[in-house]
């Protein structure tokens, strides 16, 4: 019983690391640009397909393809912000929500047309590898993914706190007008924020590839998790999103283990609705300090 519990917690934490990359991206864009990116999951999907095709055509290891998927998605993010999101920033809720929502539908369905609905997997030497500490088993691929996810989150933290650009980003998030008065160019900061967020989604995709199939609708599950984590972790709070994502991973895994195989999502949604009922501002306050 205790071993089952420990196993469920470990599995949850490991996948929670991937959720964290997605939700940090969502909360970063929300914090800085004040837009909810409904298409974030589709960028995970794109990251997965990049890794899949690099692996299947050139035999590149998915972990190595991080070096390609992250910069490509950064570039896509900059273009997305510059050509699309920027144009709706002055408009109301409706265009802001439905622009990225339409983008999500578009990317999903283009992927469906181009790649069909088939599941694509990549076999790596470590895909099936496991080791155990006591009765608890660790899948090597998931552990590597988790470790790199945490590393990337730490790097983002250092970037936001240690570099001028990162500080400018936090300043723009706190107060756009005052930041502009201090000589910060919001357009540039916004482009970088969206770029970084998408690069994280791309990283999530590449890290998933050794143990998770790619298919056109794969992003949906990750973006739903990310939304719940972002609400739970307080909108715009990066540390909050990270902790909440790990909690969600564990909650989902416990749900699957103890309620039933198809109950993971119910547990997650119930968590969201309970949060809304009792702590509508999330568990953590404010923008990450």
């Amino acid at each position: 019983m205790l071993a089952t519990l420990a196993q469920a917690v470990v599995n949850g934490l490991l996948i929670g690391g991937i959720y964290a990359l997605v939700s940090i991206g969502v909360t970063l864009i929300f914090g800085v640009v004040k837009i909810v990116n409904f298409a974030q999951g589709e960028f995970v999907m794109i990251g997965m397909y990049i890794s899949f095709f690099l692996a299947s055509t050139f035999g590149v290891d998915p972990l190595l393809s991080l070096l390609i998927s992250m910069p490509s998605l950064f570039a896509i993010g900059v273009l997305l912000q510059h050509f699309l999101i920027r144009r709706v920033l002055a408009l109301g809720d409706m265009p802001q929500i439905f622009l990225t929502f339409a983008l999500s539908l578009l990317l999903m369905n283009i992927a469906l047309l181009l790649f069909t609905a088939n599941y694509r997997t990549v076999q790596t030497p470590y895909s099936e590898l496991t080791f155990h500490i006591g009765p608890v088993y660790f899948a090597v691929a998931k552990l590597i993914a988790f470790a790199i996810a945490m590393l990337l989150s730490a790097l983002l933290y250092l970037f936001l706190h240690g570099t001028d650009l990162g500080k400018a980003m936090r300043a723009a998030a706190q107060n756009r007008e005052v930041a502009m008065l201090m000589g910060i160019n919001p357009d540039r900061v916004f482009c970088v924020a969206v770029g970084v967020a998408l690069a994280l989604a791309g990283a999530a995709g590449s890290l998933l590839m050794p143990f998770y199939p790619a298919y056109p609708l794969v992003g949906q599950i990750f973006v739903l998790m990310a939304f719940v984590a972002v609400v739970l972790g307080t909108l715009g709070n990066i540390t909050g999103a990270l902790i909440a994502s790990l909690m969600m991973g564990v909650a989902e895994s416990l749900g699957v283990q103890f309620v039933g195989a198809d109950s993971g999502l119910i547990v997650v949604f119930v968590m969201l609705l309970l949060t809304l009922a009792f702590r509508p501002n999330g568990l953590f306050g404010g923008w990450a300090r």
């Binding site: 265009p95 929500i97 439905f98 929502f101 119910i266």
Partner: protein, 336 residues
Amino acid sequence: MTLIWTTRPWFWIVVLAAVALVLPLVVSNPFAVDIFIRVLLFAFIGVAWNLMGGYAKQLSLGHAAYFGLGAYTSTILLIRFGISPWIGIIAGGVVAMLASLPIGALCFRLRGPYFAIATIATAQVLMLLFLKFRDFAWGAEGTTLPNLGDAPLMMQFDSKAAYYYLALALLALGLAITYRIERSWMGFYLVAVGEDEDAAEAVGVDTTKIKRHIYLISAFLTALGGTFYIQYIYFIDPNTAFSFNISVEAALVSIVGGIGTLWGPVVGTILLEATSALLQSWFGSGHGGVQLTVYSLILVSVILWRPSGLVGVFSDLYRRFTYAGAARSKEVPLDG
């Protein structure tokens, strides 16, 4: 020179109603009538969504919750208790209204995009629950409705035209309700909430109450559409009744047509369904991605170039067409 009565809006409404009424008598191709029924149904659901999403700008992406509750209520009453769907359709509406109260209480705490996400979650939770209710709601397999032949008292008809007129009646009901609300105090309150919720609150509008009321009406109407749809296709399962596509379509037709306008959802549905029918005849129904790819391209274009929706384009054309002299049409302010 245009005749004076062609400038009156009621004249065009009478023409439109006349065309709508004779359409199934002229067109007998079942494929075409099927498309007309879809247009009427989704225009109706769009109208129901628009009351809340358009006027009060509460952008729900979870209206499938009410569509599904309406569908399941009438189907359970029909199959388990033999109660006519004519009673079931009202019962479904009432169930949806009751469900909208706790859902609204939770979701109205959030604004804008997070309201939309919370509504997605509620519809998904309902779908997952109905997947689990194997005993009285048939679980994931769903069920077919008993075919009673031509039984108008049980809302089953042999002719597609009957379904057409029923859907037309629903749409007329939705439009009439919207028309009344638009011209009432409630309409002004709703627009005030939609424009700026805090300002509306500051001038004494009870925003929570007004949102709750419009959500009740919107949920009720959406549920009617759910019962109708299931009676029309004779089959129900959670993935059909609580389909995310229903929520999306309800919002999409309103946005493309023009949110917060009486005719927006109708214009949007005609455009999108016509596109969808054309695509099907070109590509066949095998290519799953084509339709939604085109829908989302239309949506992006509308948002970037005409966020107030296409109904405005038509009313501009209408003015240019009806008012003699371009100079006069320039004095008429564009409505949004």
